[in-house]
Symmetry: C3
Subunit: 411 residues, 3 copies
Amino acid sequence: MAANGCKGRLLSLLDYRTEKYIVAKNKTVGVLYRLIQLSIIGYIIGWVFLSKKGYQEKDEAIQSTVITKLKGVSVTNTTESGLLMWGPEDYVIPPQGEAVLFVVTNFLETPNQKLGYCAESPKVLDGLCQQDGDCEEGKLVVSGHGLMSGRCLHRDENAPGTCEIFGWCPVERKFKPQSLLTNAENVTIYIKNFIHFPKFKFSKSNILETTDVSYLKCRYDEKLHPYCPIFRLGDITARAGYNFNDMATFVRVIGIIVVYLGLPLNRRIVLHQGGSIGIQIQWDCDLDKGYSECHPQYTFTRQDITASNTIATGFNFRHARYFKNSAGESYRSLYKFYGVRFNIMVNGKAGMFNIVPTAISVGSGLALMGVGVFLCDMILLYILKNGTAYRQRKFEGSQQTPENQSGILVL
Amino acid sequence: MAANGCKGRLLSLLDYRTEKYIVAKNKTVGVLYRLIQLSIIGYIIGWVFLSKKGYQEKDEAIQSTVITKLKGVSVTNTTESGLLMWGPEDYVIPPQGEAVLFVVTNFLETPNQKLGYCAESPKVLDGLCQQDGDCEEGKLVVSGHGLMSGRCLHRDENAPGTCEIFGWCPVERKFKPQSLLTNAENVTIYIKNFIHFPKFKFSKSNILETTDVSYLKCRYDEKLHPYCPIFRLGDITARAGYNFNDMATFVRVIGIIVVYLGLPLNRRIVLHQGGSIGIQIQWDCDLDKGYSECHPQYTFTRQDITASNTIATGFNFRHARYFKNSAGESYRSLYKFYGVRFNIMVNGKAGMFNIVPTAISVGSGLALMGVGVFLCDMILLYILKNGTAYRQRKFEGSQQTPENQSGILVL
Amino acid sequence: MAANGCKGRLLSLLDYRTEKYIVAKNKTVGVLYRLIQLSIIGYIIGWVFLSKKGYQEKDEAIQSTVITKLKGVSVTNTTESGLLMWGPEDYVIPPQGEAVLFVVTNFLETPNQKLGYCAESPKVLDGLCQQDGDCEEGKLVVSGHGLMSGRCLHRDENAPGTCEIFGWCPVERKFKPQSLLTNAENVTIYIKNFIHFPKFKFSKSNILETTDVSYLKCRYDEKLHPYCPIFRLGDITARAGYNFNDMATFVRVIGIIVVYLGLPLNRRIVLHQGGSIGIQIQWDCDLDKGYSECHPQYTFTRQDITASNTIATGFNFRHARYFKNSAGESYRSLYKFYGVRFNIMVNGKAGMFNIVPTAISVGSGLALMGVGVFLCDMILLYILKNGTAYRQRKFEGSQQTPENQSGILVL
């Protein structure tokens, strides 16, 4: 008898239990509920499945290597340095083909600097002086170029002077925009980008898999050659919305009158010179479509200009080349380089069908139906005028008076 | 009376309401529903909890610093430069211990270049000429090394010549594979990797916390020394599936007959030389298991070779060292460096038990049961032959004829 | 009649069906269920909406560019090199304004090295010798500086000697902590950070949008100037919890007695010198609050020190400057640079209201109610003593004896 009861109990486990429903012949709530159902189904199919591809497992941990190579020569002609040839070994900094690289477009050379004593630049406010006492010996000039010797150098006795410093002499002059590297906008950059999605063991590069060597004579063009990995610098800046030569040379001059020691000095501040361009390589790979359908998308943006920000633009830095003369004494050439920085950023995700995210997408979508049920129940039971009757039918076995059959917050 | 009614209403809020079920003694649907239940529970426990650790809060925003240091010397012996010693300060570019570094394995030196006039390299197609008119004065040679002077230089009158250019002279010769840095595969790289998971305030490094200084005399080995941070370059390439010396020197020569000006020129293209190796450091930390159980995993892959891509491999760049002679004139040595680029990438995630993701995992898993209920209801009510009877019992109070009791899309 | 039936069937689709509930007048389960409901609603509102902002669409794929510029001069005074001025072009490596940069704080110069023959450093264990036979000709010294010539150099016959090598001579001496760059902690770093959230087409920089040029005379201070992009190096290390000068110079000396060939050698190992500092720029932008409410947060951490790790700290590397004498022979100055590496890391996410994540958050939260229903049902039906009566009411149409009406695992 116990075994029999146990067997019956086990068998009853295999009975299917389905929820009992009350049919409320109310078209208002019925139509509302159907609309909610339809919009949830539409959301699941349209948004989750078609737009977001919710049936796919995603890999966003893209591994990427970028190797760059620039080609082209450029010329400068200055009164001091004469005619100079610039190859990629000179105008690309650093030269080893990194993803972040700087292309020199303009420079100011201060040749043959030696350690010694000379006048501080009049551009340095802290280095201005009236008499020797203004230059405290052994102190560094704030934002200056060296150590004060204690002497104040004047042209004539009444004019304001600058402190004598110990440092690399002569100090850098003011900048006169000159020495533009001609032809720099025709330089090409060859970007090799190799990517790997570890979850799917999928590797690809942005270079087409062809044996046609002439393919690498192409130039990138959105429509004609979208898979060409070679870009003209002038085209890149143009696609970012700027003219290469403007970016390289545009000088915005603001006259500011600096009143120092009662004397107005006319000073000019060079703000815009050079800039920073982002090259975004976007890989959105639907691996269900196959290997050959996974292609990079290139976008180009200027990165150093935001909505209304004007004081942060421009890009320059200094670099020194050291030499020794036959006596073994060091001297150097100081270069202030202006130019355009290119920043190659790789981003991507890959997706492939998998049953787990499909189930999660469907399940969480269907769970939303509960919100619809809750809403319609509230309307039916508490807002419509014959709600009490429905409540009595819905909630069985409640022996209270009608006004007590609240059932609020049943969910 | 009103207070009494209100109190009753509040008390009735504490009544528990449970859905009423119809028992359908149908074993087919019952078994199907139990199977769906079991597979969902299996999925929640097996996949969500054990495999994906769905009960953990995750931090994937790993912060990482990589410092590298290479050790070892290498020798080259060439007819031009004689015996040369190479230390890390020479063969590692850049030398400051970055995560992306280049190891020189081969080089071509063009010493003592000066700005001046000489013949363009015959490798540059645009620099070939028959007569002076082919070399337009003041124009840059496309893909060449300088500015044309207007003269065409011949060996003898009938042979094709090359334009005279103004540039760094003499121009680089063709490459003869030579000057291999011997012993470079025995160079060791010491990788210091410090990581931090900000969400859990968890920091660790890939170096064991030991006071035993002899630990740092180890060499990484997957089985013997998995936590050793010092790697032999030859071992790294071997683990990536390549031989270091092959990567450094292998030259693939393809003879291409270039027909230019009616004259066939036999040209050789050096394709493979150098390459790029990725060193992936993977941190998968289960912080529930404790600090000492969080270890890095190293994987090594060749990054510049994809499935069938042959034209993109290899890696080289040029670098110039500048000198001045006693007269103050500049000259330079141009180096074309071939080598292997190492790219250290750090990836990781940490997980720690948290009630919120646990609840979400369980909740969204259980929500999937709704799909099973919907499916079984459809079968029971519309596919099985006594579905009408079940429908009448399930949907109470619908006074229609049986064929109208559709209930389609009840969900 | 068929058309009529079909129309009725369609109309019945618009009937609203609501689940039938059994009211169990059991206060224990009722209170429990209300508590579960309240905590889930609290979780949805408090955690999902207020704390995690679950109603927002997120973009975590921040695009960022960092440009750095250091300002300030520094002085060294050594017996060998005399008084030297250091500008950013010298003490920042690399000089081109990268996000990872190294600031020299200490150096050891080995001037005028030439390729030739000299004694190996006694610091290299493998280079120690007793007789010529210990120095195999043509073999590289392990962890040494060159190629052995086959001779063993002694001061006197009985003392241990070192092998003669071919390499850059003289080899680097032992390090004596000296040559500290004074004033390096007063150097300022100007960090320009431009970010872009592609999903929301939102760009911003860490520099305030002001036309007030004097703004850039500020120094970062958490409370006074939280939006100032200019940092004093000494302040950065102080915020990371370390003193700049300590980091730059602190030498931890451990005496180790190395017994080699029966002779104890007193050797000292310099462990701490230099280090690595991480500057984290965190952008957490709630775009619902508007453009001006999106500000970066700076945090500073020392990266090369973990909980108890002492052998991995410190940071140095070598760099060589090449020269040629008037005879065209190469010589070089080898610099061993000690210093502090700054690693600027940008992280961020932006959120903006979107209906889809709101629906998902609400839906998956409500789905959790199912867990509460399941739990309360179990208690009501199987744990409370009058569970059998509730089971009979809940499961309609089951014609079994009460003890068979198990209903286990109904969910």
